[in-house]
Symmetry: C3
Subunit: 661 residues, 3 copies
């Protein structure tokens, strides 16, 4: 467990390196990430590689005990490359090149891009394989889909389809192209989604997004092969951007050693109540990608800005509290972005720990304190892990399918997932947020928000979990379609109707017209969608209170094997989730915290029977909570509890004697 910073030696006069390294060492920084945007310095013109400056920089920092992660610089193809090989540039839906400006101006399928990327990665790998200061690699930077329409993307897309579908007839069948005469009679008729209309066959668009993920994965794999070959002792990771995301992170990270996350919680006072919860979900998602601890490769050090107007500066305590939140949810190393703000370029106002003035200030002092704390606790936390008690399912495919077809005003796949996750976090229940295709055995409670595309295989795997005793919670828009994005022609929730013991007789997409349901004699509001349910063996547990379907069933529970399946036919307000999930958790024998104040988060890291409890007040308000006894604070060494008053952004870490707070 170590502290690092993102550092750009090429942005600074050499004379500053030594001074920076010294200050880092004093502060407790033992790691820098470098070079991920430095292609034009590493290869100033075609084939002329110059790594001497980077050697010098690495040496300078190594002298101060600082290790190095090198980023491959392929996110920023230099001007000479773009100029000489225009196929590097992606083309938009009207076939306009996306000219260089900032970064990311590269088509993943461009032959030139692949060729020159492989060359420079190989040179770097060979050069740094045995540099003792270098410990690992980051591929590229914050991959995302680029949705290019160049000839190479077109021909690869056709190859990808030929691979998947064999014949034109199968594609026509799988996509249902007969609608509106969209049938293909020859492969050459299939193109990437060119402009002219926003509405296209949803099956086609979803497959195109899958192809785009595979293009990125393939582009990365080229680098990975080189790095694995030449640097067998180095780790390789990638710094993913946040959620929601069209690119499939599960596929992207499959062959990496661990996941790194770029984590920028919002500093906005209006979002102060919610950003901690969104952040918790992001961290759980990152941990869920490979179901193991991860790194933070970039995180907030000052007010971000440039792409957008600047954010508020982080409140005192904010940088530290969110750093601890990251660790609490599975981060093993934190790399802050960035050491010092850039004086030039398009990201001038994305502030680092130190301002342009190069005078360390309040934020730097907070960071220095954080480094001290991490250094102190690292030996204890080394090897600990986070274990969720509930599984929440996530899927980029589902996200993309909902993006392609916005079901109803106000319905957002990811926002709905957020609400559920937030409820668990407010109940103090640790969640694992997992790919819907993951093995879920061992979980007593599984929540599956809108399995819009529902493969019979996944349905049957969930059925098995339930049969073996798990409780499964389903939501509206489950079982609507198969993996081809084509509707099932059977009553909803399709392949899960049997397990749920219920079918949807009819639905009303109520959107923002708020309605009410009654559950356990209490009314809750709901919106977005109302499935009117016909129990087929399930028991009704909630009923609508309005409209022509007042009195109809809104939710059911069905005993199935050793377990049970809840089907929620609507999207209720958070208050419902708090009551309902508490009830469900309680019935599943899960521990929850009844009175956790809003904005205080807890989580635990475990190694064997040793458990560390993290308590974080991620708000601008002082808050008080009751602990289950008194504990010695591992940060401050004082006794805390049973009444614990937490200042804004306060953090406490204690060792738990047993599984109670």
């Amino acid at each position: 467990m170590r502290m690092g910073v993102d550092y750009y030696p090429e942005h600074w006069d050499r004379s500053m390196w030594e001074e920076d390294a010294k200050l880092m060492q004093e502060t407790g920084v033992s790691l820098i990430r470098v070079a991920e945007f430095a292609w034009s310095r590493l290869e100033p013109t075609e084939g002329n590689y110059d790594f001497t400056w980077l050697d010098d920089a690495i040496d300078t920092f190594a002298t101060h005990g600082i290790h190095v992660v090198i980023g491959t610089p392929t996110c920023t193809p230099p001007n000479w490359l773009v100029n000489a090989y225009p196929d590097v540039l992606p083309q938009d839906e009207k076939l306009h090149p996306r000219y260089p400006g900032i970064r990311g101006h590269r088509c993943y399928n461009s032959p030139s891009m692949r060729h020159y990327s492989a060359l420079i990665v190989e040179r770097l790998a060979l050069h740094y394989a045995n540099n003792p200061a270098v410990i690992g690699w980051q591929t590229d930077n914050e991959f995302s889909l680029n949705e290019c329409n160049c000839e190479h993307c077109n021909s690869r897309f056709r190859m990808w389809l030929q691979d998947k579908y064999d014949s034109i007839e199968s594609i026509n069948a799988a996509w249902g192209t007969v609608v509106w005469s969209g049938e293909y009679s020859d492969w050459s008729q299939i193109t990437t989604p060119l402009g002219g209309t926003n509405h296209k066959n949803p099956s086609y668009v979803l497959d195109y997004k899958r192809f785009e993920t595979d293009s990125v994965v393939e582009f990365q794999q080229l680098q990975l092969n080189i790095l694995r070959k030449h640097c067998p002792n180095h780790f390789v990771t990638h710094n993913i951007w946040s959620y929601p995301m069209s690119l499939d992170y599960y596929k992207l990270c499959e062959n990496l050693d661990f996941v790194s996350l770029d984590y920028y919680p919002s500093t906005s006072p209006e979002k102060a109540e919610s950003s901690g919860y969104s952040g918790a979900l992001t961290l759980d998602l990152a941990r869920g990608i490979k179901r193991q601890n991860f790194w933070i490769m970039e995180t907030i050090s000052g007010p971000p800005g440039c792409w957008m107007p600047m954010w508020r500066t982080p409140h005192p305590g904010f940088i530290r509290a969110f750093a601890w939140q990251s660790i609490a949810r599975g981060a093993d190393t934190l790399v802050h972005f960035r050491w010092r703000s850039a004086p030039s370029g398009a990201e001038q106002f994305w502030h680092g720990l130190i301002d342009h003035s190069n005078v360390p200030g309040r934020r730097f002092e907070e960071y220095r304190g954080l480094c001290d704390e991490v250094r102190k606790l690292a030996p204890l936390l080394e090897g600990t892990e986070v274990q969720g008690e509930v599984a929440i399912l996530h899927s980029h495919d589902q996200y993309n399918a909902f993006q392609i077809q916005h079901q109803v005003e106000g319905m957002d796949y990811f926002d709905n997932l957020k609400t559920i996750h937030r409820a668990f976090t407010k109940l103090g229940i640790m969640t694992d947020v997992l790919n819907e295709t993951d093995d879920l055995s061992g979980y007593k409670l599984i929540v599956a928000p809108s399995l819009f595309l529902l493969d019979p295989e996944i349905a049957s795997r969930l059925e098995t979990c339930v049969k073996n005793g798990a409780t499964l919670v389903l939501m509206p828009r489950t079982g609507v379609k198969n993996q081809n994005n084509v509707c099932w022609t059977q009553p909803l929730p399709g392949p899960l109707s049997n397990a749920a013991g219920v079918t949807v007789a009819e639905y009303d997409p109520i959107g923002r017209d708020v309605h009410n349901i009654r559950w356990q004699n209490k009314a809750y509001s709901c919106s977005q969608w109302c499935d009117i349910l016909s129990p087929k063996g399930a028991e009704a547990v909630a009923w609508y209170e309005d409209d022509f379907f007042a009195g109809e069933t809104a939710a059911t529970v069905h005993k199935f094997g050793e377990g049970k399946v809840y089907y929620l036919g609507t999207v209720p307000e958070e208050a419902f989730y708090l009551d309902f999930l508490r009830d469900v958790a309680d019935n599943s024998g899960l521990h929850f915290i009844p009175d956790l104040p809003e904005g205080i988060q807890i989580s635990t890291r475990v190694k064997g029977s040793t458990r560390y409890l993290f308590l974080m007040n991620l708000t601008r308000k002082q808050q008080t909570m009751l602990l289950d006894g008194t504990f010695r604070s591992l940060l401050g060494s004082r006794e805390i509890g049973p009444t614990l008053t937490m200042a804004p952004y306060a953090v406490e870490i204690v060792e738990l004697p047993q599984k109670n707070v």
Copy 2:
């Protein structure tokens, strides 16, 4: 009078046809529309026609007594056509092709499009001319302008202009191109409206829109000629989309046998108060195109969606009530869209009568009841017609001219027309909404919303009506321009000043700054526009109450021949129209209903002296009204009135003994 559905045999496994046909027959469906998007099935590759599947489908349905309307499939050029003949694709203002995606990706002036359209229409015509189950044709689907800029559109536009104007000098004169050096010195300098600026010479843009209508009309006429030649016993219609519309429906429908309308009233509860009134206008417009009864070729069967987030599901009674509203205002046949929701393609969530599950539900049961009712009343209603007592003038040219030059914040030609029409509907007065060039003789009351472009010929025709006793109501922005979209250089209302006995001394485009007028000692709000009037023979009847023109004349009435002309100098609130039009109607000897509850609509269909009165509660609220006696309900056979309580979406139909409610 019959009930039909839109059916897509190509979307379903053949095994389902027979079952569907049987259920249709049981339900009372005697008509299906087919094939309007099936080009890729009818001609899978160039020149390889395959009609066997359609033959089989038609035979299956014919066996169950179901007739067929065939749509020509030219709205969806298949991929092989687009791929081999790229001139099929329209080009936007930056000359980008509008690539296929869903439908409508075809330039009306493309030689290839015309050629291959003619070929397939001819094949279909020859093949189905003598199939006894086939009764008629729909051309293409929901024509609209496509505003293409391809070379063919450019050269045809020039030819169209040469035809209209003879010389470059005449164009320069007619369009006033001298402003800003827009003069042409050669035909080659004239192009369709290419990109770069949204603001162009308004005379030019209006002519371009007329050209575009003519392009569509010509494209349709090619098909019409073929169908007339080979299928002399079949009717030909086209399913128009809704209003407002840039394409001139009067020209489009001139050579068709009757008009068909696609009618999708909004299911939104917030629009529940207004959508019935908008719908009434749409239906009156459709009836006015050819001044005869019409068909509904598509109408709502479930929640629409896909292009946009899904709408609310139709409330119980909604589907039936709006079906009866259509009949009440002149529909002779109703074709519901669609039998069953499509499992694939971009329109998956535009719901049919039956859901993807293929389990008929609540909506289907409502539809089944509707079919029963229609079957029962059809013999009575056969041959009845709707006769409006008031003429409201409409024009696509006016609509386009206002679109080209937005006069003032809040002023919308079509919305203003809506308000007037709604007032009449609330007063229980039946209106005919007619092309401004129609013969208006026989109407006691004519309302002309904003005759912005005012041809002296139309002015003089209106004058004649007034001289012969009609009452004419004029509105602001009348007589501003000639047909070339060039301003008259005479006081407003230009060619109608004499008949109106008034000129506009000055105007203030007040936009959303609400003002007040006083009429018959009562104050009403007004907005958008204030003409300050100078009566020249007319009598002032309303006055402004605010601003520097407080006390000035806001409205006048002028006796002219046997009739009179009202000039309203501003756009008043609906309350004014209700009072004013009631007064005017009363003075014109028209019958109105003083206390018709909001949302209840009435209309009558007449044959000789037989009159059927339709009463429809098009709201979600129960409402009560007073009838002029008691009547026997033709739907339920019970006595109704004099107090009639109508449930939400209730419908009553009675035969009237005489011309009273």
Copy 3:
């Protein structure tokens, strides 16, 4: 001092010229501007010049004592030119031509555009050099940047950069292109800002904007050289559009004889409170460009419209009051746009003094009265000038830099400048608004809103002013960057820290989160930005009241030499400026008016010891103010004061006996 109108002989039948000329003469119009959009009439086809119609028109008006300003028609390249030489058209960031539509469809760097512009300007110059009715020229019309990306712009941009930077290495250094591998290795890699991303290196974008200004200046200079050569006795001006503006007006107007302004104050009642103040700033800016009196070349005559929905018609008195406001702030000649509204073309509803009907109405009568007044006062006002007591600094570079990098929600460079200027205007203090590079000696008070880019030379010039006794007021975001748009690596306010005696310890971009400061025991709200200040010799004068920086210093004052420097660390509400600037003005010995009613503006024109005071009520409300005695009104000849009640839009002009109101 004379009155003129914009007149378009080519829009009207020749038969109307004589009548128009007569009415002008009667009304007091002695000047027309003509021909600035008439290229297609002056050169109907390439090389065929026809000036006879213009000769005739000029003769007709000359006969009625009317002088003529000719506009060079280069803003509207005719169709023949565009068609034959497509390089005339500018290309957008995706390289699409900006096709003709209205006007301005020309690239300033196009060789054809330059060639044919020079030809027609030379012909016109030669032809009219000795026409006694012609007194001067307007170049083109309302220049602005066009941001073209054609090959000519690209190659000239490269040449411009070579000129400025000599070597690729210098550019890379100056722009800090090393960030994100943006380094150039060859000149050919540099292009104008092509599409694909909105975010680019800010140094590069700012230089591109400077290049674009230079392109316009060069384009104008070609014309200027010709006009100077052939018409040595004529003045040359240009009619600038309003503010804010990316094009650098200071550079544009450097070689002109005087500045002309197109002035269209808003007629909106909601903006009635503010538009007079915005207008005052615009007029002060126009006067500041060359630090001398100027012309109004276009001003409001009726409701503008066409580009946008029409505005409200000018309230009675509005046209006259804003005309006098223009004169009061330095206009020496007023040319109203336009004599009569155009019957055709895209500007049909931008109303002139006379409507399409050609019946002079209320607005024309008001204009006629204005002409009488101006004729009466012209002899007195001839040679008078406006002298501001306070200098406010302005810069197109700063404006552009803020546009390139939006600092924070709600922060707008020009809006902040407006607020400061408005406060001075409300205090009755006349301001000069000057280019930040101007000589400021003589001003007791200098206000510099956000010197974001701060050259040490400008900093040192300001320091000198302060040392010599001036008071300087600085604002947040001062001294952030150098002229290359690269951040200073020293504490803020950078090069002015020393003079201000303060540094910024930290900042919080609070955006729209309103905070409070305390100054002289009173609380004021502030927003946008909070610099937390560390006085280094300065004295704290205001403190924050909220957030984690409550109690920290928000503003300081520093004695420096004979003067002092205020540093405001935040953007306060107007109320603060009113109190603070009054205090500062008072301490600087400036005269202010304590109780000037909101919306009443005063200003003075001076010649030697003669001073004329203008009082204008630029609101829709009657207002009362106290004068410092009684005065004889120069407009009405009656006594006014000491209590003066001003009707809406009333104007008074008096001669001051001495420097008091």
